[in-house]
């Protein structure tokens, strides 16, 4: 009998330990640190004002209008960094993108707030974005989504398109 209760307590404790980190927002990396880590020298902080034509093109990329009239970014020489947000299922996912020479150098999930789909934060998914470019509104390579995390995968694919588009705008 004692063994039964000990077993039950252990199972509940293990289940709690696994499930608790999934509740609420998970800050995986502070955006400030992401910027620091991806520039050898301190980058300049700038903003891109979103004129009507840019807003319309962004709406095409995202499939919905972008809320806001300007986007902040960091730039040093040819390298730009963007901290962008997009809704996965119900909560926004914050992701950092580093773009250089029209290709993504790094994509990292910084804050994850959804209960499901958290697998998108792992390198086996994020590494697929390395070297990715964009031609005629399409990514240069197909990204393999994760079953059970389709909405989060799609949100990050949309954001990667946005980062490449924005980098193109500020590099012109």
């Amino acid at each position: 009998m004692a063994n039964f209760w000990t077993g039950l307590v252990i199972i509940l404790a293990l289940a709690g330990g696994v499930l608790m980190p999934l509740a609420g927002a998970q800050v995986l990396l502070e955006p400030e640190k992401f910027i620091e880590e991806n520039f050898e020298e301190e980058p300049e902080q700038k903003v891109l004002w979103l004129k009507k034509d840019i807003k319309a093109e962004i709406a095409d990329l995202l499939g919905h209008p972008y809320k806001g009239l300007r986007i902040r970014y960091w730039m040093h020489e040819d390298r730009t960094a963007w901290v962008l947000e997009e809704i996965g299922k119900v909560q926004p996912i914050t992701a950092g993108f580093v773009v250089e020479e029209d290709a993504i150098v790094k994509m990292q999930v910084l804050v994850y707030r959804e209960v499901h789909g958290w697998e998108v934060r792992y390198p086996f998914f994020t590494d697929q974005f390395k070297g990715l470019g964009m031609k005629k509104g399409r990514l240069s390579k197909k990204i393999d989504g994760i079953s059970g995390a389709t909405l989060s995968s799609n949100a990050l694919i949309r954001l990667s398109k946005l980062a490449l588009y924005l980098d193109d705008k500020v590099s012109q």
């Binding site: 509740a23 800050v27 400030e32 903003v47 809320k67 902040r72 901290v83």
Partner: protein
């Protein structure tokens, strides 16, 4: 006389039954009602009880805080929603400061700086995660009448576009935020956005049935009730078999 192990099982069976009885009654009643949701019209009945709205993070009129900015404009905050004249524009913590610049309004919340045009269009919402300070306490005014961001990490002066911030050690003053009473129309618009049309009784019963109405604790209680039912069934059957076997043995001996 019963063996100690059997007595313990019997006692566990009894107490498990008592403890899970209330939850079983809730499960049975809500299950019955949910099974007949359509004829009972549960989808069409809306609930606006303060307690229930609170369980769904839907707050009431008394929780709306409003502040007048510029001429005839009102910034309101409810839960984590920010509203300009009743129209939702951003998600952030409580408002701690307001500033009307030459080109735009600045709404300072504990975790974010939000910039708005005079028409209430969102320019940018900047989380403190990308700013040199983590928690904003107030917005103040320096001796030279420049805005000052007062944070846990010290005071900072923004540039003209509120893009870059430099540390400030000079004197400043902070005027307390003056709340204004929003009109009934404005309150209705905010609550409409926050609560939607209210809660359907079906949704409340479904969440009560699953325990979700009381969050993680409720779900766990219902899970434990389900486990308790399984244990009750198995200990009940075991007890019945034991008695049946004992009865058969008694008859054979006779």
């Amino acid at each position: 006389m019963l063996m100690p192990r059997k007595r313990a099982i019997l006692a566990a069976h009894r107490w498990l039954g008592f403890a899970s009885a209330l939850f079983l009654v809730i499960l049975a009643l809500t299950g019955l009602l949910l099974n007949h949701a359509a004829p009972l019209g549960l989808h069409d009945i809306t609930v606006r009880s303060g307690f229930l709205l609170g369980q769904y993070d839907m707050l009431g009129k008394g929780d709306v805080r409003s502040f007048r900015v510029g001429e005839g404009s009102v910034i309101s905050h409810l839960d984590r929603g920010l509203y300009f004249n009743g129209v939702h524009f951003a998600t952030a913590g409580p408002v701690v400061g307001l500033h009307k610049g030459e080109a735009f309004f600045v709404v300072a919340t504990t975790d974010q700086l939000t910039y708005l045009t005079e028409d209430g269009e969102l320019i940018e919402a900047v989380s403190t995660a990308v700013l040199p300070f983590e928690e904003i306490l107030y917005l103040g005014i320096s001796e030279s009448a420049d805005p000052v961001v007062v944070s846990h990490e010290g005071q900072f002066l923004p540039d003209d576009e509120w893009l870059a911030f430099t540390k400030y050690d000079g004197t400043f003053r902070v005027s307390p935020l003056e709340e204004s009473a929003p009109s009934g129309e404005l309150l209705d618009a905010i609550l409409e956005h926050h609560q939607g049309q209210g809660l359907s009784l079906y949704r409340v019963l479904l969440d009560l049935h699953a325990g979700r109405l009381f969050g993680w604790g409720g779900r766990t209680a219902m899970d434990l009730t389900a486990v308790a039912i399984l244990l009750l069934v198995s200990s009940g059957i075991a007890g019945w078999l034991r008695k049946a076997r004992r009865g058969r043995g008694f008859e054979l001996r006779k």
